[in-house]
Point group: C2
Chain length 219, copies 2
């Protein structure tokens, strides 16, 4: 029960324990306001101000918890796309994994994405998504600036996950997996066609009709 003081050099261990306790607390309760410095310290078996030995303030602690989740998400997306040749297929996998990950880690995702000034935490993860989009551009299945395209796709995936998490009282369909798939298709398909591609095998007249059809949305 009694905590033994760490030897010099092992102070970093406490940092890990605090991080783990904070994550547990967030997941178990699901409510961000339950993430109290006192609760975290208590669960770690340490006094409250000791948290300040390893984190500048509460926001820094939360940000560190988030960073963990981002790393995990990026790992899963890479894993989901590994061994898939078609970059468009790989992109679809990424999208589905993204949304599912968000739903499986709703508490963290809420903190992750819905905080103000969460800073550059997501940039590494975003970098991978740009990578996946670039492959599609190189393959000719998408056209345009990869960063901008990736932002649009991320918007769709994030919107789906975020809305599911923050508005559970909405009349969501029973089959959530199918809804997620529909969203991924909507985003990928819409992006591909709205970016004026793929024209492989589609006649000029049809392309013109599709363009005119899409244009009705924003005129």
């Amino acid at each position: 029960m009694k905590r033994v003081r760490a030897n010099p050099g092992e102070g970093v261990r406490l940092r890990e324990q605090i991080l783990a306790a904070a994550e547990e607390l967030l997941v178990e309760t699901g409510r961000e306001e339950a993430l109290t410095l006192r609760a975290v310290a208590g669960r770690t078996g340490v006094s409250t101000p000791s948290v300040y030995l390893h984190f500048a303030d509460k926001d820094a602690l939360i940000e560190a918890v988030c960073l963990r989740a981002w790393d995990e998400l990026e790992r899963r997306m890479r894993e989901a796309a590994r061994g898939i040749d078609d970059p468009f297929r790989a992109l679809g996998r990424c999208g589905r994994v993204y949304v599912r990950f968000a739903l499986d880690h709703a508490a963290q995702y809420r903190v992750l994405m819905m905080r103000q000034g969460s800073g550059s935490a997501a940039e590494a993860c975003f970098g991978y998504m740009v990578e996946a989009v670039s492959a599609c551009v190189a393959a000719g299945v998408l056209r345009g600036d990869p960063q901008t395209l990736a932002l649009g796709l991320w918007s769709a995936a994030h919107g789906c996950a975020s809305l599911l998490i923050s508005q559970p009282s909405f009349p969501w369909p029973e089959d959530l997996d199918a809804f997620i798939d529909d969203t991924v298709r909507m985003a990928g398909f819409g992006t591909a066609l709205a970016s004026r591609l793929p024209r492989h095998g589609i006649s000029t007249e049809v392309v013109a009709e599709l363009d005119a059809f899409a244009a009705r949305l924003t005129e």
Copy 2:
């Protein structure tokens, strides 16, 4: 400087003033944590616990502020779609208005959509969106359950707005309006085609190819 006590029956006026003060505070600072009961009461020129005369607790106050914003948003969407015959065009207008409204009221939107248990505040607004989608279904430009389709479209719009608000450090394109338009087109276009329509004037072979193309995203 000195507040005069309201006559019996006029207590509701204070409620309005508190609501206005809370909204001002939220907009001016842009930070939700600046929305303190003491700050609100101080700005209204009233003692702190007086807020409890008109709101059960802080959450109820925030919720009331949010309700105002939802009403305003619904009003603007109705206005944007008024007089437009083509339901698909009307839907596009709604989407653009939605995102622009969110960006123009970032502080409120953040509170609105990114809180936990925000309850049934958005349902009226959602109802209108279902209405607009239903018109498209009736016109044959979309196919499927209007509620589910509306949820998908809302996901896209919300994702765009939400990501822009909560991740301002992302490499967003310079022309934000164009990006919003692209997102609206992506969502509407993708939904229309992913819902297996419109087939007007598109050959069976092309439809099959488009289906196969979209299917690559979720297999």
